[in-house]
Amino acid sequence: MIALLALVLGVVAGLLLGPTAPGWLDPYLPVAVVAAVDAALGAARSVVEREFDDREFVVSFLSNVVIAVLLVLLGDLIGYGGALATAVVVVFGLRIFATATALRRALIGR
């Protein structure tokens, strides 16, 4: 589908252009990516459940990323930088697993 194509396009662009993130971005980029992946997986699930809405996806994508980054930032400020970032990633990881499970059930059939 076109959505997958867009994803692939982005990956290809990233590989070809090959930039590396500037240093100050370093703690935030991975967390943002994980948050975005969570949003994307949720979108996939809703596609399978035939309830996808672009608007929902965009909102959730952005809010996930923003919240994740804010949390890491907060963590840096209060001195819990690494731990909080880890917690954020863990939580998103759990959500990803839950989504994946639902996705699997939806695909392989109830």
């Binding site: 240093g23 804010l70 930032l73 907060l74 840096d76 400020l77």
Partner: protein, 246 residues
């Protein structure tokens, strides 16, 4: 409402973050420079060490290979020595064979030499068919017969014969391998005992020795032995001959 509070808090967090980033920017830059220099330096050191370790590893491998080669060479050479030693006379052997004992004459003492044949009668002193003293050529002929009969190792009075062992006289004394031997002469040969004994009995030299004047027939006995042990000769030193490449 709660929403406003949350938003305000959020704004505060963000503002704090920005401020802090600004404050620490310089420090970070300095730190970055220092760290970068350190990384470069340590990287170079590690690279040098890595090269050293590589060289060392190659050296150890080469050493090992050389040791292996030497060990193989050594064991090959040792095997050759072990194979050629016993029959060459350089290692002690045991086995069945014959023991030929011949005395100069009963009652000891020695008399004039016993000529080998009429052709030799004129050579050297005498020419008399004198009483039979065993001579070097007698022992040499006896040994010759034993080799013809298939002996695999021979010793005279405990002196092992090798490719370098002459049987010669110095005056009245017989020297075997440059060592003097005295009557009674004990010639031991390892091999097929029956074949050795029968061939020896039929030989001209035994006949001649048995029929020496003034020596009874019993002055030479041929006895088979089930288990003879012949000692090793001292290891050789070659001064002129060397293995040639062809």
């Amino acid at each position: 409402m709660a929403l406003v509070v949350v938003l305000v808090l959020l704004g505060a967090v963000v503002a704090l973050g920005v401020r802090r980033a600004a404050i620490t920017a310089d420090g970070r830059a300095e730190l970055t420079r220092t760290l970068r220099a350190q990384v470069r330096e340590r990287s170079a050191e590690v690279s040098v060490t890595d090269d050293r370790v590589d060289a060392e590893r190659r050296g150890v491998a080469a050493s090992r290979a050389e040791h292996r080669r030497e060990a193989e060479e050594q064991s090959r050479a040792d095997a050759e020595v072990a194979a050629l030693g016993p029959t060459g006379g350089w290692a002690a052997v045991r086995g069945p064979g014959v023991r030929i004992t011949v005395v100069n004459r009963l009652g000891g003492g020695s008399g004039p030499a016993n000529p080998r044949s009429s052709a030799d009668g004129g050579a050297g002193g005498g020419g008399t068919a004198g009483s039979g003293r065993v001579q070097d050529h007698d022992l040499a002929d006896l040994v010759n017969v034993l080799w013809i009969a298939g002996a695999e190792a021979i010793a005279i009075n405990g002196v092992r014969l090798t490719a370098l062992s002459p049987i010669r006289s110095a005056g009245d004394i017989i020297l075997v391998g440059f060592a003097p031997v005295l009557s009674p002469y004990r010639v031991e040969a390892v091999g097929d005992a029956a074949a050795l004994a029968s061939r020896t009995e039929r030989s001209a030299v035994v006949d001649r020795l048995r029929h020496r004047p003034s020596a009874p027939v019993t002055s030479l006995t041929v006895a088979t032995a089930a288990d003879l042990t012949l000692p090793a000769a001292p290891l050789p030193v070659l001064r002129n001959a060397r293995r040639s490449g062809s």
